[in-house]
Structure formats: structure tokens, C-alpha cells
Amino acid sequence: MKNPVMVASGTFGYGPEYAELVNLSSLGAIVVKGISLKPWHGNPTPRMVEVPGGLVNAIGLQNPGAEKFISEYMPFLRKYDVPVIVNIWGRTIEEYEQVAERFDGVKGVSGLELNISCPNIKQGGIAFGTDPAVTKRVVSAVRRRTRLPLIPKLSPNVSNISLFAKVAEDCGADAISLINSLPAMVIDVDTRRPVLANVVGGLTGPAVHAVAVKLVWEAARAVKIPVIGMGGITGPREALEFMIAGATAVAVGTANFTDPSTSIRVINGIEQYLAGNGFSSALDLIGKLKS
């Protein structure tokens, strides 16, 4: 990575969507929108609603499936000098294994981010990432099927994030990323109906930032592997907060929608901060929270 700033899964499509607006080769990495083994249609609309300081979405993981992604989007992404991290998901452990395995040896893929916040259809729809035993099973299972760097993306919807961070590390994860969106709901008081067709969704954007900083700080103290911090970055200051809290890298998410040049501003702003504060490298800043 030429800098610590990525774009977060689900907020940057598969690359071409923003290629006219952002120089993709300037980014630290692109984390593509979540891919499953087979194509998936997602949820009915409305799928997204703005709330103060953020948005609630229930897109439902619509994606073209691994084969179509590899044949249609990877040739495009390979033209750029940027690491591509593929976010993968499944509804059963077997689906996770199969999609992970499919990406082994695919040219241009630099790593796998594991979305463990989706419901486990074999266990009552409880998210894989909210039960430590299930988290352990899915991360270990995927670990055995891929040689690529593996980055479980942790759910904030747990009472003890350190426990989940350690589980991921113990199962052989190369890094962890957090936070995924916070479970949320919006009601239209005029119609007294939920705004989203899926009823509930996930909150992202500036509203979740302070929650994310606390969870990144806790997770980073619990593990030795790198932590990727994300949640409500709109400029360099929020990214720097994550780094001071212990994140080795960060990802810009919802702010890509607000201002597609956010990631570039964050890259430049971090550099200026490091130079202005006498740090020779970003590594010297990571985890340097003063008491």
C-alpha cells in the first residue's frame, strides 16, 4: 500500500463507478462491494434513507456473483496500480469457503475482507459475527481455504469487541477491519410505516464515528495484527483519530457519496499532519494515544 487510506466496501462499487472522479491508483486500496459465490438480488426498495449525520441502508448485498465479478471487473481493476481487496460473504460456512476458494490465484486480488455481519441462515439468522463461537468457525474455515491475506470485518453489534478481535487473530486472520454498520431503523410518522422496505438497516456516516473510534481503540489494544479503522471519516482528522487509537490503516465509506474526493483529501491531510508534527512515518503515529 502506498498510503494507509482505503475505500470501504459497498461505498465504491467495483471501481469503474468512481474512476472518472478519483484517480484509483492514488488510493491505498480498493475494497470492492461484497461478493458471494452466486449472484444475489438484494432487498426491495427503498433501500437507503438519510438521517442526521448519516444514512441507514438495507441494500441487501446485491452483487453479480464471483464469476461475473472476476470476468467483468477484475480486468478493469488490474489496469490500475492499486491493491484490490475483495469483500466476501455467504449465508452458510460452506458458501464462505467456496467463495474464498474461488479467489485464490485470481490475478490482481491482494486480499479478502470477510463480512461476518450477515445472517447465518442455518442458525436462525443470527449474524455470524455476533457469536464468538460462530465467528471462530467461519474465520477458521475460510483460513483453511485461502492463502490470501484475510481480514475479518467486525460487527459493532457486540458487547465485547476485544473478544472478537482476539478470536479473529487466533484463527489466523492477517488483519481485522471495523466497524461494519450499526443496526438501525427509521419510521415515517405520517404513514407509521418503516421507511426501508427491509424494515431495518445499518447506520453509517459521521453519526457512527465516535462509536467506531472507541471500538477500534479497544480492538487494537487486544491484538497484535493490524487494525483497519472505519466509520464516519469525512476528512483527515477522523482518519488520524483512528490511527492514534491504534489503526494501521483506515477506510473512507459513506463520505465517498457526499464528496468523491474525500479519500484523496484524507491521504493529503494525513501527510501534512505527519510532516507538521515531526513524524517521519505514519507508523510512528499508530497507537500513540496519550493518557
Binding site: 459497498g10 461505498t11 465504491f12 462499487g13 463507478e17 468512481y18 472518472e20 472522479l21 462491494k33 438480488h41 438484494g42 426491495p44 426498495t45 427503498p46 433501500r47 437507503m48 434513507v49 438519510e50 442526521p52 449525520g53 448519516g54 444514512l55 441502508n57 441494500i59 446485491q62 456516516g205 459521521p206 459513506t254 463520505a255 465517498n256 457519496f257 457526499t258 464528496d259 468523491p260 474526493s261
Partner: protein, 259 residues
Amino acid sequence: MKHHQARVLEHKEAGGGYRILTLEAPGIASRAKPGQFVHMRIPHLDGSVLRRPFSIYRADRKKLSILYKSVGRGTHSMKSIRKDDEVSLLGPLGNGFPLGRTKEVPVLVAGGYGVAPLVFLATRLRRKGIIFIGGAKACDILCVRDFKALGWDVRIATEDGSIGVKGLVTKILDEWLSPGCGAEGVVFYACGPEGLMKAVGERASYHGSRAWLSLDKHMGCGVGACLACVQKIKRNGAVSLLRVCREGPVFEASEIVWD
């Protein structure tokens, strides 16, 4: 597609809660086609993370205009936009209306501010046609002078009868389409509420014509990344979810699978 800081040239009331915002945006205006839209970051809208999409009402080489109504938090907040302010725009986005074959008579159908992209369309179509404009009351009938200046036949309907024929716009459309009107060889273009567009699609299907409808769906990114604004579209026998912002916002009526 460009990301442009556009200077406000003019922001004026158009009556009935409608306003026209004119922006200096050469990189976007010169490329814009009728039916395309701009995604605007609304200034001073605290806590807002999403841009708002607006159909292009007029565009020339250097400037473009949008016509909008205060309907929500975003458009209410736009009232504070002043001349010489700078506004962040992404555009031009989406695919516009196909301009069709010159032998077909263009029949435009608008509901409320849905008329905006149809004005732009009328300025680019090679032949003149007829426009049906509908609204709740007289102040919702916009852009009549624009079409008359272009030499178009303008027909009006309002629900309260305060201007034009009393009733829905489909009433005057149906009268015009009645047998013997010569409705063969027409092509429909429509923008407005979903009910209006469905109705236009049905008329087109009945007359064996095509109808190009400009859809409005809750958008997130505006560039095809977030998949918030998908629409069921049937092509070659298969139904797929296409992005209104990227593959649309204009779709041919017979391809649209309404919910």
C-alpha cells in the same frame, strides 16, 4: 462525468413554491443531454451525507439550470442559495432520452416539475410535437412559455380546473389519442409521478408506440456504486435490477416491471 464547483448565476422564484437555479458549470453543461441529471451537494445542510439529484432543465455551453420545488429538507434548505455562491455538482449523470426518428411525432407528457427535463428535450428534438402538462392547480403548470416559444402545441389539465381542462392529464391525452387522431407514428416521452408514467406506458403499448419514461427513485451515490436506486427491468426475457442513476433514469416503458 465531472465533479465541478459551480457558481450560482441566478436563483429565482417561479411561483407556487417552484424555483429555478442557474449555475455556471461549463464542463457539465456542454456535455449534458436531455434526461440526464446533476447530483448536487446542498450547501449549509447540516448533517447531510447524501447529494440530491435534479434533472437538467436547460443547458448550453457554459451554464445549466434546474427547476425544483420545495418538497423536503434538502429542497427547503436550498432557499438560502444566493448568487455567486458555489455549489458542488456531479454530472452529467445517467443516460438521457433517445432523440428518436424524425418521422415520429414526439408526444410529451409532464406532471408538475417533471416538465423540467422535457423542456430540455424539446430544445433538442429535431421536430416539433405536442406537450400535455398536468398538475393539481394553475401554479403547478410550468414552462408553458418555454414550449410556446419553441413552437410546440401545449395542452393543459389541472385537477381543480383553475387552468386548462379540469381533470388528470391522462384525460386530455386520451381525448387526443381517440380514434382518428392519427396517433400512429408517435413516440412518447414522460416525466412525473409514477401513476402518470404507468398510464403513459399503457397508452404507448395500446398504440404500438414506444414511451421513454424518466424514473425517480431514492438515490444514494448517483454514480452506480451503492445500488440504492435499482429498478426491475425486463430485457431479452430476463428480469434484472438496473440502476436508475446509471442505466436510467430513462427506460422504455415496456421494459419496466412495476412493483
